[in-house]
């Protein structure tokens, strides 16, 4: 499946992937509303880890046998059999955070939206052609592509 791959050699630690992620997952899809009205600062589903000079955006790998799905007590976290995308049906989530303990990449964070628990994890912007983090990466440090196993 097509996944987002990080290319650390080109990650320049701007964290704009996080900003674009937040906007893409906001109600308004507007930068200023997302941050200033919806108060979504800090709710990115991609996390730029820093070990300067190195930095890299970490996000869900959409595993074949996802631990987060296996551990989900409510059945909210699923892997779409068609697309392979692992995502959370947010209205079913009860916020037990077993998924957080399950993710081997540290790509799920406990979060909250409108008073409800939301696991902050990448859903590859399911509705869009290209995830917002990739589309907005100013240095092409993130790519959205199909890679063969072992390639």
């Amino acid at each position: 499946m097509k996944k987002v791959y990080a290319r650390p050699a080109y990650c320049m630690n701007c964290h704009l992937c996080e900003v674009n992620c937040i906007v893409a997952h906001s109600r308004s899809r507007d930068l200023f509303r997302a941050y200033k009205r919806e108060n979504l600062r800090g709710t990115a589903r991609v996390i730029v880890e820093e070990r300067l000079p190195l930095s890299v955006a970490v996000q869900c790998r959409h595993c074949d046998d996802p631990r987060c799905v296996a551990g989900c007590i409510s059945g909210a976290m699923v892997k779409d059999p068609e697309t392979g995308i692992v995502y959370c049906q947010e209205d079913k989530c009860v916020g037990c955070w077993t998924c957080v303990a399950g993710c081997p990449y540290g790509a799920i964070r406990p979060g909250e939206k409108n008073g409800r628990p939301v696991p902050l994890k990448c859903d590859l912007c399911r509705e869009a052609d290209e995830p917002a983090c990739v589309a907005g990466c100013p240095n092409r440090a993130l790519v959205f592509e199909e890679r063969r196993a072992g390639a």
Binding site: Y5, A6, P8, I47, E49, E50, R51, L54, S55, V56, V58, R61, C63, D65, R67, V69, A70, G71, C72, I73, S74, G75, D91, K92, V94, G95, C96, W97, T98, V100, A101, G102, C103, P104, Y105, G106, A107, I108, R109, P110, R147
Partner: protein, 410 residues
């Protein structure tokens, strides 16, 4: 191929998915003692406190069964297993032939013999029907005593507290959730509960119970303490449902059924997954993973289940705890901690031979929990980055470069 699955919970549903990974054709029959399609059992406490409604209880949507061509027999109990004839006898006398059989019968609450204790004066807290019954009793202002302060007792406590019930926890051990919380953590959590109006009696247990004339329960504890309550919840443990296997030659029962690496129980074509398996922690992720692997192996794969250390995420009254592996250990281990009692923060890493053996995170849980769990399961040596483990910027990049590069490329 004809598959029969006894049980209809997480292990069973994941087994269906596992079978269908390899076999799109064979017929699958699920025998469900309960009258419900599979639901996440831990949801019952959320249901009780009305955070989850009936329609959100199903673990998988209704279509799941149709899409996977599964026949579900609801409210049917398997009463006998005949491995010679490859048949399962149902409670209606029907005999269900199988080529492959999965035992995903789960467990049931352990209720010790206590003076005066009858099914009429206590509740259990394990399935949907339990909370449906409890719902009527859990009225604001009433008082409840929960016997057992493990995860089940704590979740029952939470839902009752949320319904306005005054709760008292009685725990035989010297602290709450003793398999996961060390004394320091236990004290921290105990303080939190007491601050939330929950009574807690440790080192104590129920010795007798009787209903008084006013209909309330009178409870006597080992310590001599006497309690009045409207509700008594028994939450001291779960016993695997192994009745079908008892006495069958070739099957080893050790509380649960003993399985091989392929999750086979030693009889041809018969597998087990979930809480019924001996030595497996009665935890949902484990049941799901076993179910998936057992299902695949039933359909011809040769996957191995490597016993996973327990890991559990538990939240109650806004306090979140993640425990992984041997999170209690202190003596004889290297222990790294970050403690902030005022903020109720307790983070502890247990190391043995520079490998993670246990993790306990209280009230400051984040995405790193998963990385710890993975490190622990993989047994990766953490010496090169030990100092970074509890730092706020610990992450994938703290691991050796070859490892994080490989992980990011997955």
């Amino acid at each position: 191929m004809n598959y029969v699955i006894i049980g209809n919970s997480v292990a069973a549903v994941n087994a269906v998915a596992g079978i269908r990974d390899y076999d799109r054709e064979g017929s699958i029959t699920i025998v469900s003692a309960e009258n419900y399609y599979a639901y996440g059992r831990p949801l019952i406490s959320y249901w009780l406190e009305k955070r989850v409604q009936d329609q959100d209880m199903p673990y998988r949507p209704q279509e799941f069964y149709a899409q996977n061509n599964v026949c579900v027999l609801l409210g049917r109990r398997a009463v006998k297993l005949d491995p010679e004839a490859c048949q399962v006898h149902l409670d209606n006398g029907e005999k269900l032939p199988y080529d492959r059989l999965l035992l995903a019968t789960g467990g049931r609450p352990f209720v010790p013999p206590i003076e005066g204790l009858t099914p009429a004066n206590y509740f259990t807290f394990i399935n949907y029907d339990d909370v449906r019954r409890l719902q009527a009793a859990a009225i604001p202002g009433r008082e409840a005593v929960i016997l057992g302060a493990g995860p089940t007792g704590l979740k029952a406590m939470e839902s009752l507290v949320q319904r306005g019930v005054k709760v008292t926890l009685v725990e035989l051990a010297d602290r709450l959730w003793a398999p996961a919380l060390d004394p320091e953590a236990g004290a921290l959590v105990a303080g939190f509960l007491q601050d939330n109006g929950v009574n807690l009696y440790l080192n104590d247990t129920l010795t007798s119970v009787y209903r008084e004339a006013d209909g309330r329960l009178h409870l006597e504890l080992k310590s001599g303490r006497e309690l009045q309550a409207d509700i008594l919840v028994m939450a001291i443990g779960v016993r695997p449902n192994v009745e079908l296997l008892e006495g069958l030659p070739g099957v080893t029962i050790n509380r649960g059924v003993v399985v091989g690496p392929d999750l086979g129980i030693g009889l041809p074509g018969i597998y087990a997954a979930g809480d019924v398996v001996a030595g497996s922690p009665p935890l949902l992720p484990h049941a799901a993973i076993q179910g998936k692997i057992a299902g695949r192996n039933m359909a011809g794969a040769r996957e191995t289940y490597l016993p996973l250390p327990p890991y559990n995420a538990l939240g109650f009254l806004g306090l979140h705890i993640i425990s992984i592996g041997n999170s209690v250990a202190n003596e004889g281990y290297e222990v790294l901690t970050e403690v902030d009692p005022a903020a109720l923060v307790y983070r502890k890493l247990v190391l043995k031979d520079n490998r993670l053996a246990g993790v306990l995170l209280i009230n400051k849980i984040d995405h790193r929990a998963g990385i710890y769990r993975q490190l622990l399961e993989e047994g990766l040596e953490v010496a090169p980055f030990k100092d970074a483990l509890l730092r706020p910027d610990f992450g994938l990049l703290s691991l050796p470069e070859t490892i994080w590069r490989q992980k990011l490329a997955e």
